[in-house]
């Protein structure tokens, strides 16, 4: 990872080696550290014996390799012993780290994912359930694609139809709500809980929210709830976690622990010492879970804003089978987009309207633009989140591409994504 000047001066020396950098009569001795992606190619980083790192500029410097890197540590943990009375849950890994080890020498953070490693890091988990783990893949959540959703859905169904009493999916937070709502649509006849969980502060730090979220997720996985939900911190304090319905949740803050909020709905429950569920929810029952992983991937999410070019929308009409519009206010678009929308209808491209306000329901009969859109066959997305409508449209178009059928399915709540009543206390 050292490049340019620095790599040249380092020669044979590798990260982890003990080196001495000689420069202008001064000498610095320590362990060669990896270079941050944010750094330039003119400095080498060494860890001094006092534990601090410093960067040494390499022009006119000479490097002596004093000793090779020590072998990396590895240690096997004993298989954890679980009480046979506890229910068994499966934790599926998809990316992010719910537990990790830090190599204080190199600063590298290594994820821990075996059941043994996780129980070593979060022993309280054994009081909740017998834990089985399975690493599906390890990717950043921004790199998650519909293909990954299908894989996760199939694996979850397999686990639920096997011995798992519930499944926890560990997922990066950025696109967690997309994956969670995809599973909510795909998993048919869901009879057990499927919990998405992640962390906003990485697990290598003492203040991480990972452990509390994971324990809460495990508790919900053992509860009576038979839905796909997201379980994350309910507030900045490490006190309780909120249970959000997968089709109503959105990441509303880039960094806070309590970034996830239920939009146009109240959370399904709260996890402190125990799981408390409120309102109506689908209950645990018996029966085979089925993953309908058909998806029409040619769906676009199109944001409307002043000055938006009709060319962009024309392009989408050419290329996609479905378009979710994020319209202004009650569900409007500027006039220049109308021809493209009309053409979409003619070419059999389904167009669904949602709102940039996120909160509230679209209503296209109030103003004339809305009425024109309705006449052009735009399907009102009710109080669906734009991202959820996007995932749902993929799912629906995977099932049928007949306009009337698509319209019928889009207007019906398939997985709690549309609420019938607009609750006063769901906006705060």
């Amino acid at each position: 990872m050292y490049r340019g000047e620095a790599a040249k001066v380092l020669g044979e020396a590798r990260v982890g080696d003990r080196i001495r950098v000689l420069k202008g009569g001064r000498s610095y001795e320590g362990i060669l550290m990896p270079r941050s992606e944010l750094g330039d190619d003119r400095h080498v980083v060494i860890k001094l014996d006092n534990g601090y790192n410093i960067g040494v500029e390499v022009s006119n410097a000479r490097v002596e390799r004093l000793a090779p890197a020590e072998e990396p540590y590895s240690r096997a943990f004993p298989e954890p012993e679980f009480s046979p009375e506890k229910p068994e849950i499966t934790i599926l890994g998809t990316g992010g780290t719910i537990a990790s080890k830090i190599d204080y020498k190199t600063g590298a953070v290594h994820p821990s994912f075996t059941a043994a490693e996780i129980i070593n890091a979060v022993p309280e988990l054994a009081d909740v359930a017998r834990v089985k783990t399975k690493l599906l893949f390890n990717i950043l959540s921004e790199n998650m694609t519909p293909e990954h959703w299908k894989k996760i859905a199939s694996e979850v169904a397999k686990e639920l139809n096997g011995d798992a009493y519930g499944v926890v999916v560990a997922h990066g937070t950025d696109t967690m709500s997309f994956t969670a709502s995809a599973l909510a649509f795909m998993l048919k006849n869901l009879t057990k809980p499927v919990i998405f969980v992640g962390s906003q502060r990485s697990s290598d730090r003492p203040s991480s929210d990972a452990a509390l979220n994971l324990i809460a997720a495990a508790k919900v996985a053992c509860s009576e709830l038979a839905e796909v939900v997201v379980v994350m911190h309910a507030q900045s304090s490490d006190t309780t976690c909120a249970i959000h319905r997968a089709t109503k949740v959105r990441k509303m803050h880039s960094s806070r622990r309590d970034a996830f909020k239920s939009i146009n709905a109240l959370p399904l429950g709260e996890v402190g010492e125990d799981v408390r569920l409120f309102g109506s929810y689908r209950r645990r029952s018996e029966g085979e879970v089925y993953a309908d992983t058909r998806l029409e991937e040619r769906v676009a999410l199109f944001k409307v804003y002043p000055g938006v070019s009709e060319e962009l929308l024309e392009y989408c009409v050419d290329r996609y089978k479905g378009i979710v519009l994020e319209g202004t206010g009650l569900g409007h678009v500027p006039e220049n987009l109308l021809p493209a929308i009309e053409r979409a209808r003619e070419e059999g491209v389904a167009v669904v309207m949602t709102t940039t306000t996120l909160y509230g329901r679209v209503d296209m009969k109030v103003y004339s633009t809305g009425r024109r859109l309705l006449n052009l066959g735009v399907i009102p997305g009710e109080d669906m989140l734009p991202e959820v409508a996007y995932v749902k449209l993929m799912h629906v178009l995977g099932i049928t591409q007949n306009y009337e059928e698509v319209r019928g399915l889009m207007l019906r709540s398939l997985a709690g994504e549309i609420t019938e009543r607009s609750l006063a206390d769901a906006f705060y």
Partner: protein
């Protein structure tokens, strides 16, 4: 003192905004509304190891409440947002200090996360970086090396403990802190004071450090030959440093002596067995009020034998004594108020016969000692365990530990020395390149050190040595130069900023609240002769009460509005006229009495010499040919 080695670790807050966000570095006294509750879970090392004791604490429910004063803390302090880029002003200030301490700045600064899970950092680590290496300060005895200078975040302010919860306030968290660590090169208590003073002066010379209580902390590391490194925290008064060091050296010497004597007596660790004996019945009808009270509450008196310790624990008047160490361990680890030991008994109402009975019950030999604790059983057991633990350490001499300084220059046990901190890179921050251009800029504008500045003030402003020194060391040295440059009299400005302010502060006026701007206004008014220098103290008093009001407003309120020359001339003529007979009688000799009359009216408004000049002119004119018109 033979083999004395002393080093310092000095922490100084910088007077810039916070290190990793744009919040002001100010404390808030009122309790804020927003509070958050957090936990800190011990992390795994590369071996997957977790500090079991820390995990135990965590599982028992140890938690931290953070009070969030929103005007001086934000999501960064709450650990709800990654750190912003490092504050360049703080980096510059720290590098400036480093250069003044003859240190070599590093080429690139890398912040580290130093694991701290006592809750004082919301993240569970303190961000810290080495910014320079290999500095030194010179003293009369030679160089004292400064191997590293660090820039780091100040910790949150501890407000109180409530059972398993500790309450912190986030105002202090993130204030930039410069840490200067010296080598243990100091060999005498006086030299230590000199080093602390010198480093303090250098810090203040930059004008970029905070001043006032709690903004600088100096930890002293002391050891003597055959002793051990002891870190002393909480040193407030630099003048106490030599005494603290002397007392610590003396304590270590005494502990070494005790260890040697114990060895001579053949006492070994195996002899120090924890077998507490309940001796409550001996004290059933004790005269000791303290013990009686404990027993009445249902407490017990437990005793433990310290074989071979007789005479080594130390009587009440002996100083230093092992007895204090045993008591401090019991206090810190078991929370008991105190212990009794056989070297100081009979005393405290405990009778000779009671002492004898305890000795009998424990079957003490002539060289054995005992320790008593009167408390509820659990606590008493814990206390005696702590005593025994400390007694075992006494066999080896001086334990490495952190102690806290008291106002009488003695120290008290606080905790064992912390082990090497676990550190790993702060990956949320980019490395900061310290390029040659930046260093050249800083070098070119390094502040004068105190000595240089005093010498210059003597010459340039013709101040006395004392006044020059005081101005230079005051917080308003820069203001002084500015005011003088704009034409004010150096002597007057110096006296005002140093003596007048000091006197008024002593009288209880909050002069520290007065912003520099007010002094600029004040001396502008003096220059315009709208304010007489005699009136300055009155104006300052008023300013200290209402620092938000301008000098002009204050002047109007106090009725100190200056008299113009014409006003004075008019008054002088009136006074002369009213006393025409007297003036003619006395002639020029009337000046003095007339001055008295005039100054009664003008004191504090017009300077005496101005009045005198006008009076002399007018008198001469009047005597010559009367007033025209």
């Amino acid at each position: 003192m033979e083999g004395l080695r002393v080093g310092f670790e000095i922490h100084q807050q910088l007077a810039t905004r916070k290190l990793f966000c744009n919040c002001e570095s100010e404390l808030r006294e009122e309790e804020p509304e927003l509070k958050i509750l957090r936990r800190l879970r011990p992390t795994q090392s590369e071996l997957g190891e977790i500090d079991r004791a820390a995990l135990e604490e965590y599982l028992k429910g140890r938690c931290y409440e953070y009070e969030v004063p929103g005007d001086v803390s934000c999501l960064v302090e709450m650990d709800e947002e990654p750190p912003h880029n490092v504050n360049i002003d703080a980096v510059k200030a720290a590098l400036e200090v480093a250069l003044l301490l003859n240190a070599q700045p590093v080429d690139e600064i890398h912040f580290m996360r130093k694991i701290v899970i006592d809750g004082s950092n919301t993240s569970g680590f303190q961000r810290t970086a080495v910014i320079a290496m290999d500095g030194y300060v010179k003293t009369a005895k030679g160089k004292v090396r400064i191997p590293t200078i660090c820039l780091e975040e100040e910790a949150a302010r501890k407000i109180r403990e409530e059972g398993s919860k500790t309450v912190y306030r986030l105002d202090r968290l993130g204030i930039p802190l410069i840490e200067i660590s010296t080598s243990p090169d100091i060999t005498s208590p006086e030299e230590a004071r000199e080093v602390a003073l010198k480093i303090g002066e250098i810090l203040r010379a930059t004008g970029k450090v905070k001043r006032g209580i709690g903004t600088i902390r100096q930890d002293i590391n002391v050891s003597i030959a055959g002793g051990a490194r002891v870190e002393i925290k909480g040193v407030q008064d630099l003048n106490l440093i030599p005494k603290i060091i002397e007392k610590e050296a003396e304590r270590q010497r005494k502990l070494i002596e005790i260890a040697q004597e114990l060895k001579r007596r053949g006492v070994e660790e195996v002899h120090l067995e924890f077998s507490p004996v309940d001796v409550s019945e001996i004290f059933a009808s004790t005269e000791s009020k303290l013990v009686a009270k404990v027993m009445k509450r249902g407490g017990v008196v437990l005793a433990v034998k310290l074989p071979g310790f007789r005479g080594l624990i130390g009587g009440a008047k002996e100083e230093p004594r092992l007895g204090s160490e045993l008591a401090q361990y019991a206090r810190i680890k078991a929370g008991v108020g105190g212990i009794f030991h056989s070297d100081e008994l009979p005393s405290y109402g405990i009778s000779a016969s009671e002492v004898e009975a305890v000795a009998d019950k424990l079957s003490l030999s002539e060289i054995d000692a005992f320790v008593l604790v009167a408390e509820e059983r659990e606590k008493a057991l814990k206390a005696l365990q702590a005593v025994l633990e400390r007694a075992k350490l006494a066999l080896k001499g001086v334990p490495e530990e952190t102690r806290v300084a008291q106002s009488d220059a003695t120290t008290r046990y606080m905790r064992p020395l912390p082990g090497a901190a676990r550190m790993y890179p702060e990956t949320d921050l980019a490395p900061f390149v310290v390029d040659e251009k930046l260093i050249a800029e800083l070098r070119a504008s390094l502040p004068e050190l105190y000595e240089e500045k005093i010498a210059r003030f003597l010459k340039q402003y013709n101040l006395s040595q004392e006044l020059a020194t005081q101005v230079v060391k005051s917080e308003r040295a820069q203001l002084f130069e500015e005011l003088v440059a704009s034409g004010a009299s150096p002597k007057l400005v110096a006296t005002t900023l140093v003596s007048t302010l000091r006197e008024l502060r002593r009288e209880g006026y909050a002069v520290e609240n007065i912003k520099d701007e007010r002094f600029r206004e004040m001396f502008a008014l003096v220059a315009e002769q709208k304010l007489a220098k005699e009136a300055i103290p009155e104006v300052i008093k008023a300013l200290s009460r209402t620092p938000e009001r301008s000098c002009e407003e204050i002047l109007a309120e106090l009725g100190l509005k200056g008299f113009s020359e014409a006003d004075v001339r008019g008054l002088v003529r009136r006074v002369i006229k009213e006393r025409a007979e007297f003036v003619r009688e006395r002639g020029e000799g009337a000046v003095k009495p007339l001055m008295g009359v005039l100054m009664k009216e003008l004191r504090g408004r017009v300077e005496g010499r101005v009045v005198m000049k006008i009076l002399e002119e007018e008198l001469r004119g009047y005597l010559k040919d009367g007033f025209q018109g």
